[in-house]
Symmetry: C3
Subunit: 133 residues, 3 copies
């Protein structure tokens, strides 16, 4: 198992982690296969989305806030229940394929670590499943 560290700086922040994941693939020498990513937290998730116009991520954060408002009539004393729901909506795991030693993305895609209760120092775990070429 491999581990990435992500230091978030804002309360809600989408951080591109392509390079760190690519480095894991290269260090392991995997040419073809699947990279599984897992977020070992409960108020942060991981998703894929556009990494061209930064307004996309800005809108995504705003839309998620309007769907699941931070302030609400919540029971959880820590006050971050919205972050728990947003993380489950994005998901705690994703997978990316590897082709010829490179992460295989669509044209505009990147992997985003999704911080919903930062800033914090976070981890992402990775597991590599090679397949025969």
């Amino acid at each position: 198992m491999h581990e990435i560290t992500v230091a978030t700086r804002q309360h809600t922040e989408f951080v591109v982690i392509d390079q760190q994941v690519q480095r894991i693939v290269e260090e392991a020498g995997m040419r073809e296969g699947v990279v599984h990513l897992f977020v070992p937290h409960t108020t942060a998730g991981v998703t894929i989305n556009e990494n061209a116009d930064p307004d996309v991520v800005r809108d995504m954060k705003q839309i998620l806030e309007s769907v699941v408002p931070w302030r609400g009539n919540y029971a959880h004393a820590e006050g971050n229940s919205a972050a728990h729901v947003k993380a489950s909506m994005m998901g705690f795991s994703t997978q990316v394929f590897v082709r010829n030693g490179r992460l295989a993305f669509g044209t505009w895609q990147s992997i985003y670590f999704c911080e919903f209760d930062g800033p914090r120092t976070r981890k992402v775990w990775a597991q590599l499943i090679p397949v025969a070429q």
Copy 2:
């Protein structure tokens, strides 16, 4: 393929299934790898989240109900369209890593079977992908 049975008791219920999944890993003798979980239903899903303060799950259920209300102007005669959407939002599959024969979680995490149209007797399927240590 392995199968877990989950008997839900409420209409909307999050059931921790860590122990059943851990047992599958142990019976298969897998030391390192990935456990894939799949829910073979259409009104229940699976997610990861906090298993410390029970108010987190209480809030999650309430927030999801406010985002996707049970009552609405829905076409589906069975009347459970909200459950179909909630299940897709949480997802029908997840994966957990295994390290040294144990499910590898973050400090507060557990796996939750998410019932959105219970009570029912449900299944969760598991597939194990070992990796070389």
Copy 3:
């Protein structure tokens, strides 16, 4: 890696892709294992859901539109920020198990490609991970 082409015809459309995925499994001769699916776009996703009453999918599309309205005060000039969020909510990847050479579904399940900004010609990538029977 394998590739499926999906030509969508509507702006928001859920397209069943079971047959194309089943064909990939058969052509590869995989009897037991996991099929990973990945959508290499940023305004379309993939989910599992009911394929019995077509009203379920109709309601799902309507509910998602009410949760994340197409029109809003969004910054992204392309105007399709809602599609980006819906795609992340459904997810860009899913997995299905294979048993005895067949996709293993629950009674009512199918795999849906989820178009949120069509019509377009889209791709779905697949990677097969066989397991010993």
